[in-house]
């Protein structure tokens, strides 16, 4: 006989006399402290998260503590775009700054509302701020911990700095390389199923022969025949990442955001101890709008692939989104900056995979020398050709080869200049 009421069920108010109603006990929502401190239980000094060991470590006495790792992976909880969520998500934080009191030394500090962590300027203790979001699931609930440590990051950056021939050779051995900052940046993830039906005119080429009476010959011509085609497709788009911050270069963020989300763990403030962390300043609605644009473009391309040829006109498509879900997560980055010739350059490193993107100076002297070297053979042969022209026409082929080489070097030179400009503007 099954026990009644079932285990872990609690009685709730019934809407009808004569009925008792029970429901499963709700999960206890952890009462979060507004600010979490990390004092060392051994010596009372401040602990910070050590990327090398993946543990909380006290720099003073060496005490280490393992944070609670609850691997969630790609099946981490997601939320739907309920009407209430969308109404509250657009209201933002409600305040510009948060006024907090340091529980270690009692100092009063004011920090921007979107900062998740801070260090007290008076006693240096590390703090993680929680509960500042106006809705529980608008705070980050999952993150990917750092898997690349400082040393590895420095090696990655140095290797990258010296990897392009256009960059100065001395870049690898820069004297003033400023410290790396480990930072968690906010990202939105979106899932959806897109169902689309499309219709278009698709062109098919036909080659045919016809008789031209003007010159009495048979000729060949190509005709395009347009036929209506239609089809449908369904795409399941999983974990599309959209940056939740507008304060970092989107171009470099896109280049390094190849995260493996199966490494996501449930949020624990210990992971953020001693690190910088920010929550979103790109609201959910704006990020979803960007994500939807990407999703519908992917779907449109998928539909176009179904056409029997690539000649398409009058393309029309109806697209329906369903099963839309989202979550807010934190992803680890190293942000490094360095100075070269008095100018500051930034580098972003993916804290999980080590992928790198950033700004590098261009050694224009080297670039111009290379371009000059490319032009030299052509110019020399051209001059030689001109000089040997009177000698029974020997100069003609020589000059011709010189012209061809000049043309090739012109094209190559333009390509090199464009790439150098792109590198300089990054």
């Amino acid at each position: 006989m099954e026990p009644f009421p079932p285990p872990q069920y609690v009685q709730i108010e019934s809407g009808l006399d004569g009925f008792e109603v029970y429901k499963p006990m709700p999960e206890e929502i952890e009462k979060q402290q507004a600010v979490v401190d990390f004092p060392c239980p051994q010596c009372g000094a401040t602990m910070a998260f050590d990327v090398s060991t993946g543990r909380l470590r006290c720099a003073h006495c060496g005490y280490e503590e393992q944070p609670e790792v609850d691997l969630a992976g790609k099946s981490a909880e997601q939320f739907e775009f309920t009407v209430e969520t969308m109404q509250q998500a657009t209201h933002g934080w409600g305040v510009d700054r948060l006024d907090l009191e340091c529980q270690n030394c009692g100092a009063r500090i004011s920090i921007p509302a979107e900062k998740l962590t801070y260090s007290c300027t008076f006693c240096g203790s590390n703090k993680v701020v929680q509960n500042q979001a106006n809705q529980d699931h608008l705070r980050p609930r999952f993150l990917i911990p750092f898997q690349v440590n400082d040393t590895a990051c420095e090696k990655i950056v140095q290797r990258w700095l010296g990897s392009h021939w256009m960059t100065p050779a001395a870049l690898k051995n820069l004297v003033s390389l400023q410290a790396f900052s480990e930072i968690y940046l906010p990202y939105w993830t979106f899932d959806s199923i897109t169902s689309a039906e499309w219709k278009a005119e698709v062109g098919h080429t036909h080659t045919e022969q016809y008789y031209d009476p003007s010159d009495k010959t048979w000729k060949t011509r190509t005709r395009i025949e347009w036929r209506w085609e239609s089809g449908s497709t369904q795409l399941k788009i999983d974990d599309l990442l959209e940056s939740g911050t507008a304060r970092v270069s989107q171009k470099h963020l896109s280049a390094v955001q190849n995260y493996d989300l199966s490494g996501m763990v449930a949020y624990d403030p210990s992971f953020l101890a001693g690190m910088q962390a920010q929550t979103y300043d790109v609201p959910l609605e704006a990020a979803w709008e960007t994500a939807r644009q990407e999703m519908r473009e992917k779907t449109r391309l998928e539909c176009r692939k179904q056409a029997s040829t690539s000649m398409i006109r009058n393309f029309r498509m109806d697209l329906d989104f369903s099963d839309e879900n989202w979550r807010l997560i934190l992803l680890p980055f190293f942000v490094a900056s360095y100075i070269y010739n008095g100018k500051s350059y930034q580098v972003l490193v993916n804290g999980q995979t080590g992928a790198i993107s950033g700004q590098r100076p261009v050694d224009w002297t080297k670039v111009w020398l290379v371009i000059a070297a490319l032009f030299a053979p052509g110019i020399l042969l051209g001059i030689l050709g001109l000089l040997t022209l009177p000698l029974a026409g020997v100069g003609v082929p020589v000059g011709g080869i010189g012209l061809i080489l000049l043309a090739i070097s012109l094209i190559a030179g333009i390509i090199i200049l464009v790439k150098a400009n792109q590198l300089d503007d990054a």
Partner: protein, 375 residues
């Protein structure tokens, strides 16, 4: 002949015919075993179910052994004589080669108002139950359109209703009243033929509500033991509705329960139907039934083969006559050549008439293939 002798099924309460409030008697059809209650002064020439003249009165002794249940509710007939006449006119009209007996007057003469019974059962229910309660919530979604001619994408925000399912469990202690269960084995057939009755229009039974004109009420031929399983389904259905209310949910699914029933009380609800018949060529009665509440009727329209054969014979005879005359005319063409054409036309005409002579037989055959009518 078997009688329902189980007094215990009536809750141990011996109810007599007098409790129906009128002087009544019980008759039984010796052909189909259906039992009927009717007014003591009434006499029906035939059984309204099988239409055989086989109704016999039950003796007082046998009557006393029957378990008679009180009607608690009754649906009265809403059809006027004019409407019934119209129904029969509609049934009998438009039938080629209809049987001679298929006349409105005949059907009206044989018309009987029968009250079909349904069980009504009251019971106290105590149960533990489990289910999933569904709560509606709104999500925002999008429908987008791409058109090369209209400059690309356009988007429309839509609200969709989704359901969040949560498990629930509980106990209930309720009294459910007037849960219905079929009291006749033929109940599903009647419903299929005549449609559902709107039981919400039933009124409390009073003897004066029974029609002053001739009527008969069937006695149940499906006992309360057999009907109990249907009644339990009815109780469960009521419990599901109330559970949803108790949970304050928009939906309920996967309902399971462990019920205990006590204090059952069985009564009856009477539903009116009109029964009549006509006889076909073979003298077999063809029933015509009418739902006394909605006017929906059911019957089999059978065309008369005899009449069709008679018509065919007449036409065939005419064809033969024309053929013979045409032959004579054709022979006479030896003298008067112009008569040959006339003869030829006559022969063709005779053949056509001969073909037409087959049509009545074909019509009757087709009609009798698709003879059921439900409106």
């Amino acid at each position: 002949m078997e009688f329902n002798k189980n007094l215990k099924e009536s809750g141990g309460k011996r109810i007599s015919l007098l409790d129906w409030g009128k002087p009544l008697k019980v008759v039984v059809c010796e052909n189909c075993d259906w039992q009927f209650i009717l007014q003591e002064t009434q006499a029906f020439p035939h059984c309204p179910h099988c239409f055989k003249p086989a109704l016999v009165d039950l003796s007082q002794e046998t009557r006393d052994q029957l378990a008679i249940y009180l009607p608690e509710l009754i649906l009265t007939s809403t059809l006027s004589p004019g409407q019934i006449t119209q129904i029969f006119q509609s049934f009998s009209s438009g039938l080629w080669f209809s049987p001679p007996d298929l006349k409105v007057a005949n059907m009206l003469n044989r018309l009987a108002l029968i009250y079909l019974p349904i069980w009504l059962v009251d019971s106290s229910v105590q149960a533990t139950w489990k289910a999933e309660a569904g709560f509606n919530y709104q999500v925002l979604s999008h429908q987008d359109r791409f058109d090369d001619h209209r400059g690309g994408w356009s988007s429309q925000e839509v609200q969709e209703t989704r359901i969040r399912w949560e498990p629930r469990a509980g106990k209930l202690q309720r009294v459910y009243q007037n849960i219905t269960a079929p009291a006749m084995n033929e109940h599903p057939l009647f419903i299929r033929q005549l449609g559902q009755f709107d039981l919400t229009l039933a009124k409390p039974y009073e003897s004066k509500v029974l029609a002053e004109t001739d009527w008969m009420a069937c006695l149940p031929n499906r006992g309360t033991t057999d009907a109990w399983s249907d009644a339990v389904m009815g109780f469960q259905s009521s419990a599901v509705k109330e559970c949803q209310q108790a949970c304050r949910a928009d939906h309920l699914r996967d309902f399971t329960w462990v019920p205990e029933f006590s204090g059952q009380n069985w009564t009856l609800l009477l539903m009116p139907i009109y029964s009549t018949f006509y006889t076909d060529d073979e003298g077999k009665p063809q029933p015509v039934l009418v739902n006394g509440q909605s006017g929906k009727f059911y019957g089999t329209r059978r065309a008369s083969l005899r009449r069709a054969q008679k018509t065919s014979l007449i036409l065939a005879g005419v064809a033969v006559l024309v053929f013979l005359l045409s032959l004579i005319t054709a022979f006479a063409a030896a003298v008067f050549p112009l008569l040959l054409t006339l003869g030829g036309i006559g022969i063709v005409l005779a053949l056509l008439i001969g073909l037409v002579a087959l049509v009545p037989l074909f019509i009757v055959w087709r009609t009798n293939q698709h003879s059921q009518v439900m409106i």
